[in-house]
Protein backbone atom coordinates (compact mmCIF):
# COMPACT_ATOMS: atom_id res chain seq x y z
CA UNK A 1 0.00 0.00 0.00
CA UNK A 2 1.75 3.20 -1.11
CA UNK A 3 2.11 5.91 1.49
CA UNK A 4 -0.13 8.75 0.25
CA UNK A 5 0.66 12.32 1.29
CA UNK A 6 -1.44 13.63 4.12
CA UNK A 7 -3.98 16.28 3.14
CA UNK A 8 -5.06 18.58 5.93
CA UNK A 9 -8.74 19.24 5.80
CA UNK A 10 -8.30 22.97 6.30
CA UNK A 11 -6.33 23.21 3.08
CA UNK A 12 -9.27 21.97 1.07
CA UNK A 13 -11.28 25.15 1.53
CA UNK A 14 -11.38 27.69 -1.26
CA UNK A 15 -10.91 31.40 -0.96
CA UNK A 16 -12.82 33.87 -3.05
CA UNK A 17 -10.24 35.50 -5.26
CA UNK A 18 -10.64 39.25 -5.63
CA UNK A 19 -12.01 39.97 -9.04
CA UNK A 20 -13.00 36.46 -9.88
CA UNK A 21 -13.86 35.41 -13.39
CA UNK A 22 -15.45 37.84 -15.81
CA UNK A 23 -19.20 37.75 -15.58
CA UNK A 24 -19.27 36.45 -12.03
CA UNK A 25 -20.42 39.66 -10.36
CA UNK A 26 -23.24 39.33 -7.84
CA UNK A 27 -24.95 42.14 -5.96
CA UNK A 28 -23.23 42.22 -2.56
CA UNK A 29 -26.41 43.14 -0.66
CA UNK A 30 -28.26 39.89 -0.04
CA UNK A 31 -30.97 41.08 2.34
CA UNK A 32 -32.60 44.34 3.35
CA UNK A 33 -34.70 44.48 6.54
CA UNK A 34 -36.96 47.48 7.07
CA UNK A 35 -38.12 47.85 10.66
CA UNK A 36 -40.84 50.37 11.53
CA UNK A 37 -43.47 51.20 14.10
CA UNK A 38 -47.15 51.15 13.23
CA UNK A 39 -48.13 54.18 15.36
CA UNK A 40 -45.03 56.28 15.92
CA UNK A 41 -45.03 59.58 13.92
CA UNK A 42 -41.31 59.20 13.20
CA UNK A 43 -42.19 56.12 11.14
CA UNK A 44 -44.79 57.94 9.01
CA UNK A 45 -42.51 58.32 6.01
CA UNK A 46 -41.37 54.72 6.29
CA UNK A 47 -44.96 53.49 6.37
CA UNK A 48 -45.77 55.53 3.27
CA UNK A 49 -42.69 54.15 1.55
CA UNK A 50 -43.68 50.59 2.38
CA UNK A 51 -47.14 51.15 0.97
CA UNK A 52 -46.03 52.88 -2.23
CA UNK A 53 -42.48 52.29 -3.41
CA UNK A 54 -41.10 49.29 -1.61
CA UNK A 55 -42.77 46.68 -3.80
CA UNK A 56 -41.40 48.16 -7.01
CA UNK A 57 -37.93 48.41 -5.52
CA UNK A 58 -38.03 44.78 -4.45
CA UNK A 59 -39.12 43.77 -7.94
CA UNK A 60 -36.27 45.76 -9.47
CA UNK A 61 -33.68 43.94 -7.33
CA UNK A 62 -34.71 40.30 -7.51
CA UNK A 63 -31.42 39.03 -6.09
CA UNK A 64 -31.97 40.81 -2.76
CA UNK A 65 -34.34 39.57 -0.08
CA UNK A 66 -36.59 42.28 1.35
CA UNK A 67 -37.97 41.78 4.85
CA UNK A 68 -40.42 44.08 6.60
CA UNK A 69 -40.53 43.89 10.36
CA UNK A 70 -42.40 45.74 13.07
CA UNK A 71 -40.43 47.40 15.78
CA UNK A 72 -43.07 48.88 18.08
CA UNK A 73 -42.19 51.95 20.06
CA UNK A 74 -38.86 52.47 18.35
CA UNK A 75 -37.66 54.68 15.51
CA UNK A 76 -37.55 53.10 12.06
CA UNK A 77 -34.32 51.69 10.66
CA UNK A 78 -33.21 49.85 7.57
CA UNK A 79 -30.61 47.12 7.87
CA UNK A 80 -28.56 45.67 5.04
CA UNK A 81 -26.87 42.27 5.12
CA UNK A 82 -23.90 41.70 2.82
CA UNK A 83 -21.95 38.80 1.41
CA UNK A 84 -18.91 39.63 3.50
CA UNK A 85 -20.99 38.98 6.65
CA UNK A 86 -21.21 42.65 7.58
CA UNK A 87 -24.30 44.73 8.19
CA UNK A 88 -25.11 48.37 7.70
CA UNK A 89 -27.88 50.14 9.57
CA UNK A 90 -29.39 53.47 8.66
CA UNK A 91 -31.94 55.32 10.73
CA UNK A 92 -35.06 56.45 8.87
CA UNK A 93 -36.59 58.49 11.67
CA UNK A 94 -38.61 61.50 10.60
CA UNK A 95 -37.75 60.96 6.95
CA UNK A 96 -40.48 61.40 4.36
CA UNK A 97 -41.29 58.62 1.93
CA UNK A 98 -39.17 60.31 -0.73
CA UNK A 99 -36.24 60.38 1.67
CA UNK A 100 -36.42 56.71 2.58
CA UNK A 101 -35.78 55.45 -0.94
CA UNK A 102 -32.29 57.02 -1.27
CA UNK A 103 -31.27 55.47 2.04
CA UNK A 104 -32.38 52.01 0.97
CA UNK A 105 -30.67 52.54 -2.39
CA UNK A 106 -27.50 53.48 -0.53
CA UNK A 107 -27.56 50.08 1.16
CA UNK A 108 -28.18 48.31 -2.12
CA UNK A 109 -25.31 50.14 -3.83
CA UNK A 110 -22.80 49.35 -1.11
CA UNK A 111 -20.53 46.33 -0.98
CA UNK A 112 -20.66 46.10 2.79
CA UNK A 113 -17.00 46.94 3.20
CA UNK A 114 -15.97 49.24 5.98
CA UNK A 115 -15.89 52.90 4.94
CA UNK A 116 -12.28 53.95 4.46
CA UNK A 117 -10.61 56.83 2.73
CA UNK A 118 -10.72 56.28 -1.03
CA UNK A 119 -8.88 59.47 -1.87
CA UNK A 120 -5.34 58.40 -2.48
CA UNK A 121 -5.19 54.98 -4.15
CA UNK A 122 -7.36 54.76 -7.24
CA UNK A 123 -6.25 51.32 -8.41
CA UNK A 124 -6.18 48.29 -6.12
CA UNK A 125 -4.47 45.50 -7.93
CA UNK A 126 -3.67 41.90 -7.13
CA UNK A 127 -2.23 41.29 -10.59
CA UNK A 128 1.50 41.39 -11.01
CA UNK A 129 2.82 43.89 -13.48
CA UNK A 130 2.66 42.62 -17.07
CA UNK A 131 6.01 44.15 -17.90
CA UNK A 132 7.77 42.82 -14.86
CA UNK A 133 10.15 44.56 -12.53
CA UNK A 134 13.31 46.17 -13.80
CA UNK A 135 16.53 44.41 -12.99
CA UNK A 136 19.95 46.00 -13.18
CA UNK A 137 21.49 42.68 -14.15
CA UNK A 138 19.35 42.43 -17.28
CA UNK A 139 19.70 45.90 -18.65
CA UNK A 140 22.27 47.69 -20.74
CA UNK A 141 23.74 50.97 -19.62
CA UNK A 142 22.48 54.32 -20.69
CA UNK A 143 24.61 57.15 -22.02
CA UNK A 144 23.57 60.43 -20.51
Amino acid sequence: MPQLPKILRGSLTTKISPGGTPGSFHLPCRKVVIEYCETNPSSKGTRDFLLSQCKDLAKRTPSTEFVVKQRPGKHPIVRGFYLNNRTKEISLQNLAATGVLPKVQLLLDSSGNKITSLKRRPVESVTESARGIWSALHDTGKDI
Binding site: T116, A130, H138, D139
Partner: protein
Protein backbone atom coordinates in the same frame (compact mmCIF):
# COMPACT_ATOMS: atom_id res chain seq x y z
CA UNK B 1 -28.05 34.65 -8.85
CA UNK B 2 -30.26 36.64 -11.15
CA UNK B 3 -28.81 37.34 -14.53
CA UNK B 4 -30.48 40.69 -14.50
CA UNK B 5 -28.50 41.84 -11.54
CA UNK B 6 -25.20 40.80 -13.02
CA UNK B 7 -25.54 42.18 -16.51
CA UNK B 8 -28.20 44.80 -16.60
CA UNK B 9 -26.96 46.85 -19.51
CA UNK B 10 -23.96 47.25 -21.76
CA UNK B 11 -22.79 50.76 -22.50
CA UNK B 12 -20.80 50.87 -25.65
CA UNK B 13 -19.20 54.21 -24.99
CA UNK B 14 -18.69 56.12 -21.82
CA UNK B 15 -17.02 59.33 -22.88
CA UNK B 16 -16.80 61.35 -19.75
CA UNK B 17 -13.92 63.55 -20.79
CA UNK B 18 -13.43 65.74 -23.79
CA UNK B 19 -10.76 64.66 -26.20
CA UNK B 20 -8.80 67.82 -25.79
CA UNK B 21 -8.52 67.96 -22.03
CA UNK B 22 -6.79 65.01 -20.48
CA UNK B 23 -5.98 66.01 -16.96
CA UNK B 24 -4.02 64.24 -14.35
CA UNK B 25 -1.21 62.04 -15.49
CA UNK B 26 -1.56 62.57 -19.22
CA UNK B 27 -0.31 66.12 -19.36
CA UNK B 28 0.08 67.94 -22.62
CA UNK B 29 3.54 67.28 -23.94
CA UNK B 30 5.83 70.21 -24.47
CA UNK B 31 7.09 70.94 -27.98
CA UNK B 32 10.53 69.72 -26.97
CA UNK B 33 9.21 66.24 -26.46
CA UNK B 34 7.69 65.94 -29.89
CA UNK B 35 8.82 63.20 -32.21
CA UNK B 36 9.31 63.79 -35.87
CA UNK B 37 9.59 60.50 -37.69
CA UNK B 38 13.30 60.48 -38.35
CA UNK B 39 14.29 61.44 -34.84
CA UNK B 40 13.49 58.72 -32.41
CA UNK B 41 14.19 55.08 -32.63
CA UNK B 42 11.26 52.87 -31.88
CA UNK B 43 12.23 49.30 -31.53
CA UNK B 44 10.07 46.36 -30.95
CA UNK B 45 12.14 44.76 -28.31
CA UNK B 46 12.32 43.69 -24.72
CA UNK B 47 12.34 46.20 -22.00
CA UNK B 48 15.31 44.35 -20.62
CA UNK B 49 17.81 45.11 -23.36
CA UNK B 50 17.69 48.72 -24.37
CA UNK B 51 19.46 50.06 -27.44
CA UNK B 52 22.30 52.16 -26.22
CA UNK B 53 22.54 55.25 -28.39
CA UNK B 54 18.93 56.18 -28.84
CA UNK B 55 16.38 58.40 -27.23
CA UNK B 56 14.08 55.65 -26.16
CA UNK B 57 13.99 55.30 -22.43
CA UNK B 58 13.27 52.42 -20.15
CA UNK B 59 9.64 52.81 -21.10
CA UNK B 60 7.95 50.69 -23.71
CA UNK B 61 9.42 50.32 -27.12
CA UNK B 62 6.32 50.88 -29.12
CA UNK B 63 4.82 49.86 -32.39
CA UNK B 64 3.65 52.50 -34.73
CA UNK B 65 0.57 51.74 -36.66
CA UNK B 66 0.45 55.00 -38.51
CA UNK B 67 3.96 56.31 -39.17
CA UNK B 68 7.00 54.59 -40.51
CA UNK B 69 10.30 54.92 -38.73
CA UNK B 70 13.74 54.19 -40.07
CA UNK B 71 16.03 52.53 -37.58
CA UNK B 72 19.05 54.61 -36.68
CA UNK B 73 21.18 52.88 -34.14
CA UNK B 74 23.61 50.14 -35.03
CA UNK B 75 22.66 48.14 -31.96
CA UNK B 76 19.94 45.62 -32.60
CA UNK B 77 18.88 43.34 -29.80
CA UNK B 78 19.14 39.84 -31.18
CA UNK B 79 18.39 37.81 -28.13
CA UNK B 80 15.36 38.30 -26.00
CA UNK B 81 13.73 36.67 -23.05
CA UNK B 82 10.37 36.80 -24.76
CA UNK B 83 8.68 33.98 -26.54
CA UNK B 84 9.24 35.08 -30.11
CA UNK B 85 12.05 36.61 -32.18
CA UNK B 86 12.19 40.37 -32.26
CA UNK B 87 11.27 42.04 -35.53
CA UNK B 88 14.01 44.09 -37.11
CA UNK B 89 11.77 47.05 -37.85
CA UNK B 90 8.78 48.58 -36.12
CA UNK B 91 5.64 46.80 -37.00
CA UNK B 92 3.42 48.73 -39.39
CA UNK B 93 0.24 46.75 -39.34
CA UNK B 94 -2.11 46.94 -36.35
CA UNK B 95 -3.33 43.38 -36.83
CA UNK B 96 0.26 42.14 -36.87
CA UNK B 97 0.89 44.11 -33.68
CA UNK B 98 -2.15 42.56 -32.05
CA UNK B 99 -1.04 39.11 -33.15
CA UNK B 100 2.25 39.65 -31.38
CA UNK B 101 0.53 40.97 -28.28
CA UNK B 102 -1.71 37.93 -28.24
CA UNK B 103 1.27 35.61 -28.03
CA UNK B 104 1.96 36.87 -24.54
CA UNK B 105 -0.13 35.98 -21.51
CA UNK B 106 -0.43 39.17 -19.46
CA UNK B 107 -1.56 42.55 -20.67
CA UNK B 108 -2.13 46.00 -19.29
CA UNK B 109 -3.91 49.04 -20.66
CA UNK B 110 -3.57 52.75 -20.09
CA UNK B 111 -7.05 54.19 -20.16
CA UNK B 112 -8.74 57.42 -19.18
CA UNK B 113 -11.94 57.49 -17.20
CA UNK B 114 -13.65 60.70 -16.13
CA UNK B 115 -10.66 62.74 -17.23
CA UNK B 116 -8.02 60.80 -15.33
CA UNK B 117 -5.57 58.24 -16.72
CA UNK B 118 -4.89 54.92 -15.09
CA UNK B 119 -2.79 51.84 -15.72
CA UNK B 120 -5.16 48.91 -15.51
CA UNK B 121 -4.84 45.15 -15.54
CA UNK B 122 -7.50 42.46 -15.28
CA UNK B 123 -9.08 42.05 -11.83
CA UNK B 124 -8.09 45.54 -10.74
CA UNK B 125 -10.49 47.53 -8.57
CA UNK B 126 -10.60 51.13 -9.74
CA UNK B 127 -12.05 53.97 -7.69
CA UNK B 128 -13.35 56.98 -9.60
CA UNK B 129 -15.63 59.88 -8.66
CA UNK B 130 -19.23 58.75 -8.71
CA UNK B 131 -20.60 57.97 -12.15
CA UNK B 132 -24.21 59.06 -12.05
CA UNK B 133 -25.53 57.19 -15.06
CA UNK B 134 -24.57 53.62 -14.17
CA UNK B 135 -25.99 51.15 -11.71
CA UNK B 136 -24.20 48.55 -9.65
CA UNK B 137 -23.73 45.46 -11.78
CA UNK B 138 -23.62 47.28 -15.10
CA UNK B 139 -20.89 46.27 -17.51
CA UNK B 140 -18.99 49.15 -19.03
CA UNK B 141 -16.72 49.12 -22.06
CA UNK B 142 -13.99 51.73 -21.82
CA UNK B 143 -13.63 53.91 -24.88
CA UNK B 144 -10.54 55.97 -24.08
CA UNK B 145 -7.73 53.47 -24.21
CA UNK B 146 -4.38 54.97 -25.09
CA UNK B 147 -2.09 52.02 -24.87
CA UNK B 148 -2.16 48.27 -24.56
CA UNK B 149 0.94 46.33 -23.77
CA UNK B 150 2.44 43.11 -22.59
CA UNK B 151 5.86 42.11 -21.37
CA UNK B 152 7.68 42.75 -24.61
CA UNK B 153 5.29 44.56 -26.92
CA UNK B 154 3.32 47.77 -26.73
CA UNK B 155 0.68 49.25 -28.97
CA UNK B 156 0.20 52.94 -28.42
CA UNK B 157 -2.37 55.26 -29.94
CA UNK B 158 -1.01 57.93 -32.16
CA UNK B 159 -2.63 60.60 -34.23
CA UNK B 160 -0.55 60.92 -37.35
CA UNK B 161 -1.95 64.38 -38.03
CA UNK B 162 -0.68 65.63 -34.73
CA UNK B 163 3.07 65.07 -35.02
CA UNK B 164 5.02 67.89 -33.49
CA UNK B 165 8.42 69.01 -34.56
CA UNK B 166 11.11 68.93 -31.98
CA UNK B 167 13.01 72.14 -31.53
CA UNK B 168 16.39 71.67 -33.19
CA UNK B 169 18.28 73.22 -30.29
CA UNK B 170 17.09 70.50 -27.93
CA UNK B 171 17.10 67.69 -30.45
CA UNK B 172 20.35 66.08 -29.41
CA UNK B 173 20.47 67.20 -25.83
CA UNK B 174 20.60 64.70 -23.02
CA UNK B 175 17.26 66.00 -21.78
CA UNK B 176 15.57 65.18 -25.05
CA UNK B 177 17.10 61.73 -25.04
CA UNK B 178 15.90 61.06 -21.54
CA UNK B 179 12.45 62.38 -22.29
CA UNK B 180 9.72 59.91 -22.89
CA UNK B 181 9.56 58.87 -26.49
CA UNK B 182 6.55 61.12 -26.87
CA UNK B 183 4.79 58.75 -29.16
CA UNK B 184 1.48 58.98 -27.40
CA UNK B 185 -0.35 62.03 -28.55
CA UNK B 186 -2.56 63.47 -25.91
CA UNK B 187 -6.10 62.46 -26.56
CA UNK B 188 -5.38 59.73 -29.09
CA UNK B 189 -7.21 56.52 -28.42
CA UNK B 190 -7.03 53.03 -29.76
CA UNK B 191 -10.33 52.09 -31.31
CA UNK B 192 -12.53 49.18 -30.28
CA UNK B 193 -11.13 47.20 -33.24
CA UNK B 194 -7.80 47.12 -31.45
CA UNK B 195 -8.70 46.50 -27.84
CA UNK B 196 -11.79 46.21 -25.66
CA UNK B 197 -11.72 46.60 -21.92
CA UNK B 198 -14.75 45.58 -19.93
CA UNK B 199 -15.41 46.75 -16.38
CA UNK B 200 -18.25 45.94 -14.03
CA UNK B 201 -19.57 48.53 -11.62
CA UNK B 202 -18.84 46.94 -8.25
CA UNK B 203 -20.35 49.55 -5.96
CA UNK B 204 -21.31 53.15 -5.34
CA UNK B 205 -19.87 54.18 -2.04
CA UNK B 206 -18.73 57.16 -0.03
CA UNK B 207 -15.39 57.92 1.54
CA UNK B 208 -14.58 58.80 5.11
CA UNK B 209 -16.28 61.73 6.77
CA UNK B 210 -14.08 64.80 6.32
CA UNK B 211 -14.44 67.69 8.70
CA UNK B 212 -13.40 71.01 7.20
CA UNK B 213 -13.01 73.85 9.68
CA UNK B 214 -13.40 77.38 8.47
CA UNK B 215 -12.44 80.34 10.61
CA UNK B 216 -11.87 84.05 10.28
CA UNK B 217 -10.09 85.35 13.29
CA UNK B 218 -11.39 88.20 15.39
CA UNK B 219 -14.67 88.17 13.44
CA UNK B 220 -16.55 85.52 15.34
CA UNK B 221 -16.79 83.34 12.22
CA UNK B 222 -16.28 79.63 12.75
CA UNK B 223 -17.94 76.76 11.05
CA UNK B 224 -17.42 73.06 10.42
CA UNK B 225 -18.37 71.48 7.13
CA UNK B 226 -18.79 67.74 7.07
CA UNK B 227 -18.29 66.07 3.72
CA UNK B 228 -18.32 62.53 2.36
CA UNK B 229 -17.08 62.21 -1.22
CA UNK B 230 -19.10 59.74 -3.30
CA UNK B 231 -17.14 57.24 -5.37
CA UNK B 232 -17.81 54.49 -7.87
CA UNK B 233 -15.66 51.40 -7.85
CA UNK B 234 -15.13 49.53 -11.08
CA UNK B 235 -13.73 46.05 -11.40
CA UNK B 236 -11.73 45.55 -14.59
CA UNK B 237 -12.95 42.26 -15.98
CA UNK B 238 -11.13 41.57 -19.19
CA UNK B 239 -8.82 43.02 -21.79
CA UNK B 240 -9.76 41.65 -25.19
CA UNK B 241 -7.48 42.23 -28.12
CA UNK B 242 -9.04 42.70 -31.51
CA UNK B 243 -8.07 41.23 -34.84
Amino acid sequence: MAASSALRSLFSSLSLGSSSSLKGKARKFDCSFGTPPAQQLRWLGTTRSQPRATASTAEANSLSASTSVTPQSAYVPTASLSSGPLPREPVQDTSEALRLLRTQPNHYVIASIAGRTYVLAPRDLLTVPKLRDVKVGDVIELDRIHEVGSRDYTLRAQNSLNTRRQKSALASSWAAQLAPSGLAHVGSVLGPQAVKVRCVVAEHTKGNMERILKKKRRKGYRKTITHKQPYTRLRVESIELGK
